[in-house]
Symmetry: C2
Subunit: 168 residues, 2 copies
């Protein structure tokens, strides 16, 4: 099998998002066992000006869905950022995974040199497809997924790195 | 340009490691400005049974160097885990980057189906090259690099995500 833009994106985003959903299951079980209001965990953050857990999950989802849509040239579905509970965050992940798994390899393969204009806050950047996927989307996606994990670990949820890596 | 095993590995590991070195520079400057012993930061962790900052940096380096060596079929250089200061951690990163930048694309390209046996603690796993790179090495690498960033942010070092992403 050859490495391709599809192989480097869809299965990888979907796999890590499913691992993240399983991590949220463990966090929910932890909150229930310890009688912690789950909103304490979903609103927890590592520093006052960092994103809280819920936002880390939302941004991980948006990075994955945006990458697939931009590479394939389809509209990015709009998901409102209203999730507060673990079940709501898992539903956000599930609809993102369903979107990702709807792509066929032919929609994404061959987009290495596709010209993309990405809005990053106030800036607009011009990247090619491969540069965007490998240099921005994947690191940004893993950054937010890992930080979600880190927030939960910092709050005492028992997780191990295999929860994050899953089954490669 | 086509996506390849080389493009998905060497330039990505090297780029993020250089970003991590620049992040350590900012952390060192922060410690000096606030008169904090730098070892307080390099030994900081997000939870008692998580790795400290220095170990996060070492494991990020080892993941990158191990991936390049295994895919290319060369011996993995041994780097002792002795670093304590920011300058020592930056030297560890620099020798890892030099090792990574020594590879030619032809040494790594075409290794998608290469059979690899990886020791993960007590377990041995059998993965193919692409599965190993995309499903283990890259997520694991970004996990440790992001957690290093998270530890420093949690300790008040002023960083932004662009320090992590750098110039894709």
């Amino acid at each position: 099998m050859n490495l391709s833009m599809y192989q480097a994106s869809a299965p990888r985003f979907a796999s890590t998002l499913k691992n993240l959903a399983a991590i949220l299951d463990k966090a929910k079980a932890h909150a229930e066992a310890k009688k912690i209001d789950e909103l304490v965990l979903t609103s927890s953050r590592l520093y006052p000006d960092m994103f809280a857990l819920a936002r880390q999950v939302q941004v991980a989802c948006d990075t994955a869905k945006g990458a697939m849509a931009r590479l394939a040239g389809v509209e990015i579905p709009k998901h409102e950022d209203t999730e507060k509970t673990f079940d709501e965050l898992k539903a956000r992940i599930a609809k993102t995974v369903a979107f990702i798994e709807g792509f066929k390899p032919a929609q994404v393969d061959g987009t290495e040199d596709k010209a993309l204009t990405i809005k990053l806050g106030p800036r607009e950047v011009n990247w090619k497809g491969m540069q965007y996927l490998l240099g921005f989307a994947l690191p940004n996606f893993y950054f937010h997924a890992a930080t979600a994990y880190d927030i939960l670990r910092h709050n005492g949820v028992e997780l191990a790195k295999r929860d994050f890596i899953g089954n490669p």
